[in-house]
Symmetry: C2
DNA sequence: CTTCCTGCAAAAGTTTTGCATTAAC
DNA sequence: GTTAATGCAAAACTTTTGCAGGAAG
């Protein structure tokens, strides 16, 4: 299995002169438990006694330490998940109706094909150290059943 | 070539009971001219005499008429581009340092492979009518040259 | 002349910041 | 003890909204 998430978080925070406090650990645990990108409101709901300013500040610090990352969405507030190397490389199924984000993996051969090709495409444009983001946009089962 | 952008915009706006006004045409022209997703500040800079509230309102209307769409980024403000069928199916090169977004296309066979595979993956999860979003995240030539 | 659009200003919502206090090392 | 994290409240910034005046059909 992969190295312990908390040990890694501690290391990475220390590397930038910061501490793995109780609150930060609780944020990481929540993100790990939910296993999918959470919005700020989600997080506030999941950790009701954590102050809003602490949530923002700690997520910013965790992001800088490369423990979490902000996920790009069309929504009005941020969504965060654990950094990829603390989970597994994966993609998102995004429901365009309710905004729900679900983690998925895709076949390894497609993954490899995508990686190789994009690397070539990027090099042509002078882009370096490229990662990819491959998301699926559609309508989830529930929204298909009860539109609105 | 594809049908005229302005004719299409007119149609689609009329379909939802709205008009293709001067301001909306200028927004479409700017997005067309720049050929890449623009942030609200970009747009305000590009159309200095357009009021901020009009920009927001018109982009919202154009989005509802399916003439423009909001692009997902990790930034704090919105980015918009013309709807895909008014341009061509494409992807984005996103610089993680300066945030610049550049349009690219990828080889058709990869495109087809991605499409087919994702369709299968989505179906397994109960997702319907799936589109994909495939972006490249890296460092652009300029930021690689002068980091900061 | 009716409907939609625009400008202005104010409000709402999300995120950031200052500062005194508390906790971690 | 020294440095970093937290809580609280206020501020900053992005986006939305109400309403009166103006333009379009």
């Amino acid at each position: 299995m992969r190295p312990d998430v908390h040990a890694t978080a501690t290391e990475r925070l220390e590397a930038v002169g910061q501490r793995y406090t109780e609150q930060r650990r609780r944020l990481v645990e929540l993100l790990q438990r939910e296993g999918q990108p959470l919005t700020i409101p989600d997080i506030l709901r999941g950790l009701p006694d954590m102050k809003q300013s602490s949530v923002y500040r700690n997520l910013a610090d965790l992001e800088q330490a490369d423990v979490v990352r902000r996920v790009a969405t069309e929504e009005e507030f941020g969504r965060y998940e654990l950094t990829e190397d603390l989970t597994l490389h994966h993609h998102h199924l995004i429901c365009r109706s309710c905004g729900r984000v679900e983690d998925i993996t895709i076949p390894v051969d497609l993954e490899r094909n995508v990686d190789r090709t994009l690397d070539r495409v990027a090099r042509r444009s002078g882009f370096a150290s490229v990662a990819h983001r491959l998301d699926l946009i559609g309508t989830c089962r529930e929204c298909a059943a009860s539109p609105g």
